[in-house]
């Protein structure tokens, strides 16, 4: 490709402006944007590399600590079985007594069973305030809970579409060490751990409106499973509270009903465990943990870092004879009186510490990437089983402390090992200063251990008082180290690099200035050639363009407008339609077209609203088919039938229209065959749909052929068409005038892309394609609304760009990762290949909003002038249009970037701003790339037309 460019530029030498002359600003822009975005992203999107290592039982011999010698793994097991009940979006104030807060609210005190257990048996049951790390979404939190790490927005190594955890984690360690895990409830767990569970009862989590399916499924399996013996860890994940929050908010009757329902279930669970907790029974040594994965705001939102979202509760209860007391140094609990004047002790812990603490209790290796520390209070709940082998001289609390010190030793060694490995293998590791500081703290603690404490522990006959104080010192040293690591990790994985972001924004602004300069330069050139400009409408049009663009850009500063971006874009599109209508009334022409445009934008608006309602109603990570047509077609069988037939009819209409267009006289051989190929592709799409649907059973083609081979044939045809167009262009010397040639080239290019885009978009594809053809035609006609003299270029381009944005939302997408239609990536392919599926997904997502509009932009030039004005003039116009289009996209993206920078501490930053940022940046780069490709394709080096009329003459 580079080769052809250089040859073309040399061939064009001596002429006023060669092909390269039109193209180089576009390429420069692309490079500037790439650089700016790379730098900004490096500072903003916090990334963490996932390490593929796993902890092994035998690793611990390399640590300076004592390994337990009775056949178990890293630490001495303190509990045998764990029942883990996760209540999604459990707010802290659901669990603790209302006296804890200044004011009692209706949703408080609805889970009295937990509070009563904690108050009546303060030594074996505890309530913790568990503080989660943002992003507080279920998936990231489950990941954090099981790996003991800090999942960031982008975890490098995460596989596309399938979120299975590849890092070492608590569940993985359980399975590795022969423990059996049973899971019920939220199917996110089975996505994260597809092969780990002994038994699992997953229920779909994406339907937020459904408060009961997941919970009832859990309830059905939870109590019977408690009597089973075939598991070591049981996980039950309830979703009702999360869904009730999303739909009704916290202060609502369904929420309170849900909490009351949970209270009953938890009562029964505790009763069952209690009854079986006798010596020799199945739950003799079981730990019950009831916890939330994150909190929620009063509206039921979560994702950010506000106190309401990160503060959740953790309740732990053991069913054996408890330890008499935890040494007070490690007891962080604050005592409150509840309504019955009973004391409730409420401690605090980090969710980060959960994985390692439970691993230590179960005696399995700690997850490799865990950076938490063993929480003393939670660890103390499993304490008493060590008393048996302890010497009688020491009090049980001293024995516990010895064990705890050793566990912390292993813990610190494991964290240090992870930090070392991370610094060594990650591209962006910790800074050298930080690293050496951590290393020195660790060296200090370890020194103390090996020279002093170890001897002390070996020699157990020593005076217990000295031993206790030395142990405390040791534990403090380890705490210091672990806290330092956690702080470093938080700053690394949850804080931004402002310098990089600043440089990125600076380069982005430079690129904007460059683009504006290019536009102005070509305008000047254009004004030089076309004498009769300077019409007031041009000025008027530019002002309106700047106004619309400015409003759209500034709207990104608020999360509400980003959430409703589709509607905002449509509002602006309709506004531009009203302005065009006004203009057409003035000129007294194109009235029907401008009214048609308004009606079209009204239709778009309904499609966008359907899409937005779906956005609000889903929280699923993976969905296979989210086209709105399915959404509409739920109900009447007539609708159902229409939803099958109408797309096919529209597609036939499109094919007929293409056929008619291609029979025009100016369509020469390369273009004609391309269009015929597209019509063939359309027919194949229809065949694919017919075989795919179960409505038309007796189809002639077997389903497998229809499902996989037909789409592949269509992709192959499209690829062939593109190659044909590229090479056909090299060999063919057009004998048509430049403008007609441009129209033919554009039409064939669009038709070549359209079949793939329509196929991937599913049943809605033909409708959206139809709408885009109509919208494109209308905008093309509006270019001429002023007559020959005053082309309202910038306004038309703005309209074109707004329309493209609306099409993005119309085709069932939105700027969030759950807005991606993963199903589209697997049309025609069953297995997953990253590059191939990513390309298909990109074409589906941006087909209507980038690929078709960018390749279709020459229509605006072609429709602008009725007479042929010569190649140079048309190409100048075209390059100006592309620069303007790029500029419009770049300005909106710049504002998105600025807005994420400003709002980086906003609670919605990971839930809303960051996805929007990723989409916009991707949108900008893709637009730039396609503009560059289009410029290579459209600016050919053919000779100047012989019959050039002098421009403007």
């Amino acid at each position: 490709m580079k080769q052809t460019e250089t040859t073309s530029s040399s061939a064009a030498e001596g002429r006023k402006r060669g092909k390269w002359g039109y193209i180089w600003p576009l390429w420069t822009t692309l490079l500037l944007h790439l650089l700016a975005i790379l730098l900004f992203t490096a500072g903003f999107l916090l990334t963490r590399t996932e390490l593929p290592y796993h902890s092994q039982c035998s690793d611990v011999s390399r640590s300076p600590c004592f390994s337990s010698n009775n056949g178990s793994c890293w630490t001495k097991p303190a509990v045998n079985r764990v029942v883990l009940i996760v209540l999604d979006a459990l707010r802290f104030d659901f669990v603790v007594p209302s006296t804890f807060f200044a004011e009692a609210k209706p949703w408080m005190d609805k889970l009295p069973v937990l509070k009563n257990a904690a108050s009546t048996r303060p030594l074996s049951a505890r309530i913790f305030k568990a503080i989660a790390d943002p992003p507080t979404t279920s998936l990231q939190r489950l990941k954090g809970l099981t790996t003991g790490g800090l999942p960031t927005f982008v975890d490098v190594g995460n596989s596309f579409g399938a979120p299975a955890i590849v890092e070492d984690n608590f569940i993985n360690q359980l399975v590795q060490n022969g423990k059996k895990v049973v899971m019920m409830g939220d199917d996110t767990w089975t996505q994260l751990f597809p092969h780990h569970f002994e038994r699992s009862y997953p229920y779909p989590s994406f339907n937020v409106k459904d408060l009961h399916t997941v919970d009832n499924g859990c309830i059905d399996h939870l109590l019977p499973s408690l009597y089973e013996e075939d598991w070591d860890v049981l996980i039950a994940h309830f979703l009702g509270v999360d869904h009730a929050g999303h739909i009704f908010g916290v202060d609502s009757t369904p929420m309170i009903e849900k909490l009351e329902q949970y209270n009953t279930i938890l009562e029964r669970v505790i009763e069952v465990l209690e009854n079986q907790s006798g010596s020799g029974s199945s739950h003799e040594n079981t730990l019950l943990v009831v916890m939330g994965d994150h909190g929620q705001t009063l509206n039921g939102d979560h994702g950010g870092g506000s106190a309401e979202e990160v503060e959740t509760a953790l309740f732990a209860m053991s069913f054996k004879k408890p330890l008499s007391s935890v040494p007070p140094e490690f007891d962080s609990c604050s005592i409150h009186q509840d309504l019955d004047a009973m004391n409730v002790c409420i401690s605090s812990m980090q969710q980060l510490d959960f994985a390692v603490t439970v691993s230590a209790l179960l005696g399995i290796p700690f997850p490799y990437g865990s950076i938490g520390h063993i929480n003393p209070e939670l660890y103390a709940l499993g304490a008493d089983s060590w008393n048996s082998d302890a010497s009688q001289k020491l009090s049980e609390s001293d024995v516990w402390m010895q064990n705890y010190a050793n566990a912390l030793c292993i813990n610190s060694w494991q964290v240090k090992r992870y930090v070392d490995a991370y610094s060594a293998s990650s591209a962006v590791g910790f800074s050298r200063d930080e690293f050496s500081r951590i290393a020195s703290i660790y060296a200090q603690a370890e020194n103390h251990w090996s020279h002093f404490t170890k001897k002390l522990l070996l020699d157990r006959q020593n005076n217990s008082n000295i031993s206790v104080s030395a142990l405390k010192e040791q534990i403090d040293a380890y705490f210091k180290f672990l806290t330092a690591v956690t702080e470093l990790a938080r700053s690394k994985w949850t804080e931004f690099d402002l310098n990089m972001m600043g440089i990125g924004i600076g380069i982005m602004l430079i690129s904007l200035i460059f683009q504006v300069f290019t536009v102005l330069r070509t305008t000047k050139e254009h004004d030089g050639t076309l004498s009769s400009s300077g019409d007031s409408w041009i000025v008027n049009g530019s002002i309106l363009t700047i106004f619309l663009l400015g409003i759209r850009a500034f709207s990104f500063l608020s999360n509400s407008y980003i959430l409703e971006e589709g509607k905002v874009a449509n509002f602006l599109l309709s506004t531009s339609g009203v302005l065009t209508l006004r203009q057409s009334v003035i000129k007294g022409k194109l009235l029907i077209e401008s009214i048609g445009f308004l009606i079209l934008s009204t239709f778009c608006r309904f499609a966008i609203e359907v899409g937005l309602s779906k956005q609000a109603a889903t929280s699923a990570f993976m969905k296979d088919y989210t086209s709105w047509i399915i959404n509409i077609a739920s109900g009447l069988p007539v609708w159902d039938y229409a939803a099958e037939v109408v797309p096919i009819a529209v597609l036939i209409l499109l094919a007929a229209w293409l056929y008619k267009a291609s029979s025009g006289s100016f369509f020469d051989w390369p273009w004609k065959y391309v269009i015929l190929g597209t019509i063939l592709s359309y027919m194949l799409i229809i065949a694919h749909w017919i075989t795919d649907s179960n409505r038309f059973d007796g189809a002639l083609i077997p389903q497998s052929v229809g499902r996989t081979y037909i789409p592949r044939i269509i992709y192959a045809i499209a690829l062939g068409q593109l190659l044909f167009l590229t090479f056909g262009q090299l060999f063919k010397k057009s004998n048509l005038d430049c403008k007609t040639d441009l129209v033919a080239k554009t039409t064939s290019m669009l038709s070549a892309w359209s079949s793939t885009v329509i196929l991937l978009s599913g049943k809605q594809g033909p409708m959206v394609a139809f709408a885009s053809i109509f919208g494109g035609c209308f905008i093309m006609k509006f270019v001429n609304i002023e007559g020959k003299d005053g082309p309202q270029r910038s306004f038309s381009i703005m309209q074109w760009s707004l329309f493209a944005t609306c099409l993005f939302f119309c085709s069932g997408h939105w700027c969030a990762f759950d807005g991606l239609r993963y199903g589209a990536a697997f049309i025609g392919f069953e297995e997953f290949v990253l590059v191939r599926q990513a390309i298909l997904l990109t074409i589906d997502t941006f087909g209507f909003s980038i690929i078709l509009p960018v390749f279709g932009l020459p229509f605006l030039v072609a429709s602008m002038y009725q007479t042929n004005l010569g190649k140079h003039f048309i190409f100048t116009q075209l390059s100006q249009m592309y620069t303007t289009y790029g500029l419009i996209t770049a300005i909106t993206t710049t504002f998105t970037i600025l807005c994420v920078t400003i709002q980086r501490r906003h609670l919605m930053v990971w839930g809303l701003f960051a996805p929007k940022f990723v989409f916009d940046v991707f949108n900008l780069i893709l637009t730039d790339v396609f503009i560059c490709l289009a410029s290579i394709y459209y600016f050919d080096q053919g000779r100047e037309d012989p019959e050039v009329k002098s421009p403007g003459g």
Binding site: Y561, S574, T602, R605
Partner: protein, 246 residues
């Protein structure tokens, strides 16, 4: 000082015109737009504002409804209260006084109500007004109020003259003072409504963010601002005429 001066000027002007109108009646028929003197324009505007204020006040105190609690009823009440004022006032300045009686102008104004309501209703739908059944009366009543501010004065004065409508609403080139009085408030109401839609998506969760409350506030504010602005324009118009005639 300056405004006082111009005020006197215009009063004089008004008197002059009154006296000269007898002689040049023939000419006045040919002239496209009848002029309106500054005090008269002031009076018209003041009455419109007072009517609006009275409607809002009466809705609040007498019926104890307001835009936030009963948007559709309040909008209907405002429209009904403002409608006769607008029709009766603007019909006095109808074009072609010879062929068109006062009553006919009133009838034209009444006819402008359904047409304007329909147009504004469709416009609101195109720009994204909710179409659910519960919003239907609200949208209709809002469109009714919009028609009182936009199409009704125009249809009283202009009748069915397409060229005049086009000149005023598409080209925004009002000629003469009365056309300023039609053109500016109508545009003010529309632009105000457009801007009034912007707070709607924000997550402040205030009751007034519901459709069509904020839009109605925008409309009313835009209308009032434009009424004041139109007075300024009429003053400027008179001064330039005055200079020209000198």
């Amino acid at each position: 000082m300056d405004s006082h001066f111009s005020f006197f000027n215009s009063i004089q002007n008004f008197k002059l015109q009154r006296s000269s109108s007898m002689e040049s009646r023939k000419a006045a028929i040919v002239e496209a737009s009848p002029s309106i003197s500054v005090p008269e324009a002031f009076l018209v505007n003041a009455l419109c504002v007072l009517g609006l204020a009275f409607a809002v006040w009466a809705a609040n105190t007498v019926f104890s409804i307001d835009l936030v609690s009963h948007p559709s009823l309040t909008l209907f009440f405002i429209s009904i209260a403002e409608l006769p004022i607008v029709i009766l006032l603007y019909s006095r300045y109808r074009l072609n006084r010879q062929q068109c009686t006062y009553l006919r102008a009133v009838a034209r104004g009444v006819l402008g109500v359904p047409i304007g309501t329909l147009l504004n209703f469709l416009g609101a739908i195109a720009l994204g007004a909710p179409v659910k059944f519960q919003y239907l009366p609200k949208t209709i009543n809002w469109a009714l109020m919009m028609s009182v501010f936009t199409t009704v004065p125009a249809s009283c004065v202009l009748g069915s003259s397409w060229a005049d409508w086009r000149r005023i609403f598409a080209q925004t080139k009002p000629k003469g003072s009365i056309e300023y009085l039609i053109c500016l408030p109508a545009h003010g109401a529309l632009i105000g409504a457009w801007f009034g839609a912007w707070p709607m998506p924000l997550d402040w969760e205030r009751p007034w963010q519901e459709w069509p409350i904020s839009v109605s506030y925008g409309t009313i504010v835009g209308y009032l601002v434009a009424l004041v602005a139109s007075l300024g324009f009429i003053l400027a118009c008179f001064r330039s005429q005055h200079i020209k005639s000198d």
